[in-house]
């Protein structure tokens, strides 16, 4: 299931719950799968110095990011006995409450999916050049820092 060249992980705008539901449905023909694990990153309406985040605007060094996503994918397939994995990340504006990251791993066995999903999400946070600009309700902004 491992592709040889990087594909585009980015989607313009938020990732819809319908899209996630459809992705799950597509896996119901793969009857060797016993466990799925899904991570969703959602934009928080954090309050910072009295101002509320209304959206995050994502930009990325797209070519390098897709290359990194591909490396993460390859190393995850080497480390874990997964049937499949999918990653989607938003670019552009994602409003508070909307989903900006969707990571989906599947395996015959549940222990594998827990380890694999956490590994993949942490790798994405650490190594993929994506930049989030937190937009406040008064249209000022600050740059997001991952913790």
């Amino acid at each position: 299931m491992s592709d040889k060249k990087p594909k585009n992980v980015f989607k313009e705008g938020a990732i819809s719950s319908a899209f996630i539901g459809e992705s799950i449905a597509k896996h119901q023909t793969k009857t060797s799968i016993g466990a799925h694990n899904i991570f969703l990153g959602q934009v928080r309406a954090d309050v910072i110095n009295g101002k509320t985040v209304s959206a995050i605007e994502y930009t990325a060094y797209e070519d390098m990011a897709n290359k990194k996503f591909h490396e993460i994918r390859e190393s995850a397939f080497e480390k874990f006995d997964m049937t499949c994995m999918h990653i989607y990340h938003s670019l552009g504006t994602v409003k508070a409450g909307e989903i900006c990251l969707f990571v989906f791993v599947s395996s015959p066995r549940r222990k594998v999916v827990f380890d694999a999903l956490e590994y993949i999400v942490e790798e994405i946070k650490a190594h993929v050049p994506v930049f989030g600009k937190e937009i406040f309700e008064d249209e000022t902004h600050q740059w997001k820092v991952n913790s």
Binding site: A65, I124, A126, P129, V130, F131, W143
Partner: protein, 77 residues
């Protein structure tokens, strides 16, 4: 050699552009940075990593790339 320099996130706010082409003789990444620090006064106060041809490199790395990128802290997800 002609090199494309790319700026992202808060670094692009400092440079007020997303990319530019600059001409360098052979040398290290540090020499590129010297030119950029001179050109953009406040760049020195910013935290960033450097990628050469889409791989992270240190300042001491030899300049080989057609593409250098200045990357502020990653904050995907």
């Amino acid at each position: 050699m002609n090199i494309t320099i790319k700026y992202f996130g808060q670094i692009a706010e400092v440079t007020q552009k997303e990319s530019e082409q600059l001409d360098f003789s052979e040398g290290s990444i540090a020499e590129v940075l010297d030119v950029l620090y001179c050109k953009y006064g406040t760049l020195k106060n910013k935290e960033f990593k450097i990628a050469q041809n889409q791989e992270l490199v240190s300042e001491n790395e030899k300049l080989t790339g057609a593409e250098i990128a200045l990357l502020p802290p990653f904050s995907g997800g």
